[in-house]
């Protein structure tokens, strides 16, 4: 397993201390937090000369190359200018050798709702870094030397040590891995004629490295050699094969013939683990893939390894040997993002009270061959994730960039972790307080997370809560029953508890926290997005003595309406019936836990916010709320963003949303 050297921790700590000491005391505003730009990931080339940085902005991504002394940089690729109008994303990048960066690039063509799938064109772009004797040359993208592989398949190993070559898998009734030369590939978007050989005619027996009968869904390699393959066969059989030194495949597990590993879960291996027969897997039966398991396909041992707090896991991030996982690629705000964790920690601590993460994360995510440079990632509860380049000879660190560059080094808070007993459960919570809370009681904003099932708040930097802390508020986040990240028992306890147990968990945690001397129990408000908005409305109505105001963003107001939404697929419809209720049978009960049917009891002001384009909770919920608030003459604010969806991806909208929410809360708690 990849561990963070002690020396590295020391260097990181020193660096961050300096960073924090130089930050100005100027007040941060919402646009500093929500401006939408930042660094997603960084990779260093084998000789340590260049670092490639992938950044995201409001609606596009950009790859920048920097020299490791940071004296030179150039923008290599920008999705804004690389294509004309269609949506495109960069999902990964890695160095094939010192001069070639491979970029997995996808171009989306929207499909037909309920009829045609969205078409996605995937291109593996291999870009030659424009340079002259170590000097980066600014080059328009039209003039870049870009090769691509036209044959359908995937890169399975960069062969970093062998300049100009890599391993590529091609699938068919027989699937094979080939060793390809970059120089022989066609130029990207080059028009082919009869004399042009596709991909340089390299898919031949002479270049074949491994072969398997059946359609290979995934190859798993280690030290440049394929070690296992998952293949699909014409008789509907899915087989996981081990490949020995002689390239002979033996069946490790057959989905058709072997004993089912779990009645509830359908494990799909994504990467090799460091022990024989063990793989890191996703569970395909999970509603949305947010969990990683370690599964031994021989013994049947299963271990929950990691759960993300992001929307969905799309891939793993592993080291060069491909069997030490230290992160996952996730979908966040519509983009592929990179999330890191300490694998040694994630394997431990699986009970209801302790989360998987360390209080702070200092992680080595790469190094050049000579080990002169280390690429590191650091995140804490009050510092956003940022990337550092460490010169191991001089012990000097350089900041490469941050997820949220405008606030790095300018934020601070105190994090208190605790738990409260509700029914037979231990409910964990995270309380973030302004640094001065010990001398001046902080007003409190309770922020229940969305989801609600299979989602959780983690210990690390959270943009919304840190923003509220900077505005002088304490922020309470409760991992109520149904939340992931702690134990399966806690998650399962959320079934059909939308309007009952989950709300009681939040309430009890609030009651415990307001008894603390740092918190002003007279000034408490509740705010949430999605399910959090629903919970905010319900708890505000039921507990006027506790909550002085509420902010409901994208929340459900009428559960029966939500369960009959026009966009629910059959599978989601079934999931809701199991997890929430069946509108056909439970209509009256669901009505009793719908905020709009309790509005006559509302005693405190509420702010209802929604996006017209919301395709997860329809905007009709906000209109119903408004109609009944007006009917009962209840104090409220109401705001509809006509172009926004459920998540308010537009930085300017989120900036305004958070600013007006804080103004509303300030007004109610003054």
């Amino acid at each position: 397993m990849m561990k963070t050297p002690r020396r590295l921790n020391k260097v990181l700590f020193l660096f961050v201390s300096i960073l924090i000491s130089v930050h100005s005391a100027s007040a941060l505003e919402a646009d500093d937090f929500f401006n939408g730009g930042g660094l997603s990931t960084a990779v260093m080339n084998p000789n340590g000369q260049w670092v490639a940085l992938l950044s995201f902005d409001n609606k596009h991504q950009r790859i920048e190359i920097k020299s490791t002394d940071l004296s030179q940089s150039l923008t290599l690729l920008d999705t804004k200018t690389f294509t004309d109008h269609e949506k495109s994303t960069i999902s990964s990048m890695l160095w094939l050798d010192d001069n070639h960066l491979a970029v997995q690039y996808s171009l989306y063509r929207e499909g037909i709702h309920q009829l045609k799938d969205t078409k996605v064109r995937h291109d593996l772009l291999i870009i030659n870094i424009p340079q002259d004797n170590g000097k980066l040359l600014q080059t328009p993208f039209e003039e870049l030397d870009i090769k691509s592989v036209r044959t359908s398949g995937r890169l399975v190993n960069p062969l970093e040590e062998t300049a100009g070559e890599f391993l590529y898998a091609k699938n068919g009734s027989t699937s094979k891995i080939y060793r390809l030369k970059i120089s022989l590939l066609n130029n990207y978007n080059q028009k082919l004629n009869k004399l042009t050989r596709i991909d340089g005619g390299q898919f031949t027996k002479a270049n074949e490295i491994a072969s398997i009968n059946g359609y290979a869904l995934a190859w798993y390699s280690q030290s440049d050699q394929p070690k296992a393959v998952l293949s699909y066969h014409s008789d509907d059989e899915l087989i996981l094969n081990y490949i020995d030194e002689n390239s002979e495949a033996t069946v490790l597990y057959s989905w058709k013939n072997d004993k089912v590993l779990s009645e509830e879960k359908d494990f799909f291996p994504i990467a090799l683990a460091d022990k024989a027969n063990e793989f890191y897997c996703l569970d395909l039966n999970e509603d949305i893939e947010r969990s990683i398991y370690r599964v031994n396909f021989k013994t049947g041992d299963i271990q929950l390894f990691y759960q993300t707090s992001s929307y969905k896991i799309t891939d793993f991030i592993a080291d060069d040997d491909n069997n030490n996982i230290y992160g996952v690629k996730v979908l966040r705000n519509g983009f592929i993002d990179f999330e890191y964790f300490d694998a040694t920690e994630t394997a431990n601590a699986k009970d209801e009270t302790s989360a998987q993460e360390k209080a702070e994360l200092n992680l080595r995510i790469g190094a050049n061959y000579s080990s002169q440079y280390t690429l590191a990632y650091r995140i804490t509860h009050d510092e956003p994730g940022h990337y550092l380049l460490i010169d191991n000879k001089t012990q000097k660190s350089k900041l490469l960039g941050s997820r949220y560059p405008a606030v790095l080094g300018k934020t601070s808070s105190q994090l208190i972790e605790g738990s409260v007993a509700v029914d037979d459960l231990t409910i964990p919570y995270l309380l973030s307080l302004p640094k001065n809370a010990s001398t001046q009681k902080a007003p409190l904003i309770v922020m229940p997370h969305g989801g609600p099932i299979g989602v959780h708040d983690d210990r690390y930097f959270d943009l919304h809560s840190q923003f509220l802390v900077e505005k002088g508020y304490g922020v309470l986040r409760v991992n109520f029953r149904g939340s992931s990240g702690y134990s399966e028992a806690l998650e399962k306890a959320g079934t059909k508890q939308w309007g009952d147990g989950m709300l009681r968990d939040i309430l009890e945690a609030t009651k415990k926290v307001i008894a603390m001397p740092e918190v002003d129990e007279q000034r408490v408000c509740i705010m949430g997005f999605s399910y959090g908005g629903y919970a905010a409305s319900m708890l505000l109505i039921d507990n006027p003595e506790l909550f002085k105001c509420g902010v409901n963003v994208s929340g459900v107001s009428d559960l029966n309406l939500h369960l009959n939404a026009h966009f629910l697929s059959s599978s989601v419809d079934e999931w809701y019936k199991e997890q929430v209720g069946n509108s056909l049978i439970d209509y009256d009960q669901l009505k009793t836990i719908s905020p709009i049917y309790k509005i006559q009891d509302l005693q405190r002001p509420i702010f209802v916010i929604h996006g017209s384009q919301d395709d997860i909770v329809d905007v009709e919920h906000a209109h119903r709320f408004k109609a009944l608030l007006e009917k009962h003459n209840k104090p409220h604010q109401w705001k509809i963003y006509p172009d926004s969806g459920h998540h308010f991806f537009e930085p300017e909208v989120m900036t305004e949303l958070m600013t007006t929410s804080v103004e509303f809360i300030d007004q109610q708690l003054k």
Binding site: H85, E86, R109, E110, G111, I112, H113, Q114, L115, K116, D558, N560, L561, N564, A565, H566, F567, L568, S583, L584, Y587, K591, I596, Y597, D618, V619, E620, H623, R624, K626, A627, L628, K631
Partner: protein, 203 residues
């Protein structure tokens, strides 16, 4: 055993009835004409109600096929156990967006098919398996059946189709129309599932 001489006439009678029935089924398919709300004359007739639908389409020549499931408007648990015949077809060709009304017998209906040609491509979506494509028509009521969205986007060759419950959002405009025309017929939410919102609002 019956005498053989009546077997032939019985067989012929059965065959004839079958043919008549099938002809009747074909003949039963009627065109449901939609009239703009502002031009509609609400004259209540026995056992009939008014279907009110809001069109929000960018498709020039869409149409719907509708099947009557049950005489009871509120039989929301109705389970389809047969192949649905088409009782009504609704031609949306050249209709502008807005509210439309049609006079129709009370009962529970299923929109079973939506046709929305995408430029030169025929496009049909079968909706007969989905409860959210049901409409509930109560006698002597204006039954809000939802907002029919059929959106085409040329740049991406896409069609987005849905019957959306936007009753509350549409209510102010709808009320304005009905008050202007002095319509006395009561309004209700007439999608194919129970929805108490309007009752709550009126109480």
């Amino acid at each position: 055993m019956k005498p053989s001489y009546i077997r032939i006439p019985l067989f012929l009678l059965f065959t004839g009835l079958t043919l008549l029935a099938s002809n009747a089924a074909i003949a039963a398919k009627k065109e449901l004409r939609l009239t703009p709300l502002q031009n509609f004359n609400f004259i209540e007739t026995k056992k009939n109600g008014f279907l009110l639908i809001e069109l929000a389409t960018t498709s020039a020549a869409s149409s719907l096929e509708i099947s009557r499931l049950d005489k009871k408007a509120d039989n929301y648990t109705y389970t389809i156990g047969r192949r649905l015949r088409t009782d009504y077809s609704v031609n949306l060709k050249n209709l502008n967006n807005g509210f439309y009304v049609a006079d129709i017998p009370a009962g529970l209906y299923q929109i079973k098919e939506v046709t929305a040609p995408l430029y030169n491509l025929p496009y049909r979506i079968q909706t007969d398996g989905r409860r959210i494509w049901r409409v509930s028509i109560e006698e002597a009521h204006i039954n809000y059946a939802g907002r029919l969205k059929i959106e085409q986007e040329r740049s991406v060759n896409a069609i987005d189709v849905g019957l959306i419950n936007r009753f509350s959002q549409s209510l102010p405009e709808l009320t304005q129309h009905l008050e202007k025309a002095s319509v006395q017929t009561p309004l209700r939410i007439g999608l194919g599932y129970r929805d108490d919102f309007y009752q709550e609002l009126q109480q």
